[in-house]
């Protein structure tokens, strides 16, 4: 063979070898796993935007870990010789990451909506409870610690609402639990106070009816004070002549037990003295025969059984007087009327006019429904 022919054979086969080698190398080089990582990252970002790290914590963190792991593997593979690289695990992890991030996104949307519904309902119920119970609660002389509990609960409710405005529902649960517990406890205490107090209701109704009957029988005046509704009913000859608003002592629930308890007594009394403005600093006053025999017996009993201190005094000078109309219970146990009303009353009643003071003329059920 000639030299030229040899050259052609050598160059030709070399070229073919190069072509085949190039094809082999190109087919052996894997495509970078970028598309899988991009979709995983985008899924994670999308989940993050709906607070999946809060509402679907586990799946979201797993998705992030898998993405990080895929990136780490990609780095490791890139350190190898180009023909030895294998991105299959990178692609697998990126795919798993995307699946979990999407799952986290979906469950986060559902959880957030459910939590929002739950929280909104809880707040609405608490606000309704406050709206319904607070006016009555404010009227009741509850101990300071119960007042504090109520105040703390309501303040926490305000705080929870402030947190909601920031779109943060997850941090609310503890706050709402605290608010609910404190508010409901204080109302339960108030409710029990009323239930205990209203065990006397049949007696009150009977006493008020007796006063009206006596007024008819004797063709005389009778005064009935309903402490709960802060009302003074004036009867003459068994007929209702006047209704006046009254104000009472601060601790108006229950009978007066001792001097300084700021309670308005309950029971059947009569007027012992009419005081004009020269004899009282409260415009005009009708002095009652407090303490009567029942009050004295109750006081003695309290001292004997230790519910009252030995140094306690029974108290006196309980009056129906003027200077009322202040809008709150402010006396130390007396019954305050507006001056125009005490004027009216002062003209018609005499000494010995019966005065019946009762807790309520309305049953508790009706009061609670009001």
């Amino acid at each position: 063979m000639s030299k030229t022919k040899w050259r052609i054979i050598i160059y030709g086969s070399s070229s073919l070898l190069i072509v085949f080698l190039s094809i082999w190398v190109i087919t052996r080089i894997q495509n970078p796993p970028l598309p899988g990582l991009i979709t995983a990252r985008e899924a994670i970002t999308k989940a993050k935007m709906v607070n999946a790290e809060v509402y679907a914590k586990s799946d979201f963190h797993k998705a992030e870990d898998l993405y990080r792991s895929a990136m780490r593997m990609w780095k490791i593979e890139n350190l190898k010789f180009i023909l030895n690289r294998d991105y299959s695990e990178v692609i697998k992890n990126a795919s798993k990451s995307k699946t979990l991030a999407n799952k986290a996104y979906n469950s986060s949307l559902v959880d957030k909506r459910n939590l929002k519904d739950k929280v909104d309902m809880q707040i609405l119920e608490l606000k309704e409870a406050v709206k319904k119970n607070q006016p009555l609660f404010n009227k009741l002389p509850v101990p300071p610690e119960i007042n504090k509990q109520n105040s703390q609960g309501q303040l926490m409710l305000f705080e929870a609402e402030s947190t909601i405005k920031r779109g943060n529902y997850k941090d609310l649960e503890g706050k709402l639990e605290f608010a609910e517990k404190n508010i409901q406890n204080s109302y339960q205490f108030a409710n029990q106070l009323l239930i205990d107090y209203f065990t006397m209701y049949p007696r009150w109704v009977k006493q008020a009816e007796q006063a009206r009957i006596q007024s008819k029988k004797n063709n005389s005046y009778a005064i009935v004070i309903d402490k709960f509704s802060r009302t003074c009913f004036v009867y003459n000859n068994g007929e209702l002549k006047n209704i006046f608003d009254v104000e009472l002592g601060k601790n108006w629930i229950g009978s007066k037990l001792y001097s300084g308890d700021q309670a308005t007594p309950e029971g059947q009394y009569f007027i012992v003295s009419k005081k004009d403005s020269r004899k009282t600093k409260y415009y005009k006053a009708l002095l009652l025969n407090y303490p009567n025999e029942d009050d004295k017996a109750r006081f003695k009993n309290g001292k004997d059984n230790g519910t009252l201190q030995l140094s306690s005094k029974i108290g006196n000078l309980i009056e129906i007087h003027g200077d009322g109309g202040k809008g709150i219970d402010w006396t130390n146990g007396c019954i305050a009327l507006q001056n125009k009303d005490i004027d009216t009353l002062f003209k018609v009643v005499e000494e010995n006019t019966p005065v019946t003071i009762v807790g309520s003329l309305k049953p508790l059920k009706e009061i609670l429904n009001d």
């Binding site: 080089i29 970078p32 970028l34 990582l37 991009i38 990252r41 970002t45 993050k48 935007m49 990136m71 990609w74 780095k75 593979e77 890139n78 180009i82 690289r85 404010n138 300071p144 007042n147 504090k148 109520n150 105040s151 703390q152 309501q154 303040l155 926490m156 305000f158 705080e159 609402e161 402030s162 947190t163 920031r166 943060n168 002592g249 601060k250 700021q262 009322g324 109309g325 202040k326 809008g327 709150i328 219970d329 402010w330 006396t331 130390n332 007396c334 507006q338 001056n339 125009k340």
Partner: protein, 201 residues
């Protein structure tokens, strides 16, 4: 023969030079971007500007993906990744500044709520002096006193939270205290107005 050998060597050298002429990894830019993101995190950007911080983290991830993509190739070109990393560093500063600004804003909100609440408490205490009292001078506003005490305690808690750096907790507490103090103020003004009206009669 000599000239062929020379051409062969020249081709080999040329190929080697070409193969090794790829760009270098922008390590300095990568380190700077990572450090800048950490600085933004240290300024609590993840708490106070969470969306901006998430976007920043995303940008860093994109740059890292681009670096690995280039590393996967036979001929590497890091210009795009380098520019992305520079942009991440710049964005980190913006996010950090936004976080600091939000903190300043929150601190101002907290302080304003605390100050106005304190003023309201002082006004409420004055109104309580004018409000109806018992014969012996004892106040009949126990519940309001209790509420004011609870509000004062809440303000102290808000200040403590602020001092400890929990600005979101502090702002919630301070605003709640403010709302409650405002409610009491309205209630007291109504009672006092009614009382004053009653007295005039």
């Amino acid at each position: 023969m000599k000239s062929r050998l020379f051409i062969g060597v020249l081709a080999l050298v040329g190929f080697t030079m070409f193969a090794t002429s790829c760009e270098k990894l922008p390590q300095a830019e990568l380190d700077a971007a990572n450090a800048a993101v950490e600085t933004a995190r240290a300024s609590q950007a993840d708490i106070y500007v969470p969306e901006a911080f998430a976007a920043l983290q995303d940008s860093l991830k994109v740059a890292n993906e681009n670096i690995e993509l280039q590393k996967s190739k036979l001929f590497k070109k890091f210009t795009v990744a380098k520019n992305q990393l520079i942009a991440v560093s710049a964005l980190s500063v913006t996010v950090k500044d936004a976080s600091e600004a939000r903190k300043v804003e929150l601190n101002a909100e907290i302080q304003a709520a605390i100050d106005t609440t304190k003023a309201l408490i002082a006004e409420n205490n004055e109104l309580m002096k004018k409000a109806p009292k018992g014969k012996e001078g004892k106040a009949a506003l126990e519940q309001m006193k209790s509420e004011i005490a609870v509000i004062e305690a809440s303000l102290t808690e808000a200040s403590n939270l602020q001092a400890s750096g929990n600005l979101l907790g502090a702002v919630d507490k301070a605003k709640a205290a403010n709302a409650k103090a405002t409610e009491i103020n309205t209630e007291l003004k109504e009672v006092t107005a009614k009382y004053t009206k009653g007295k005039k009669k």
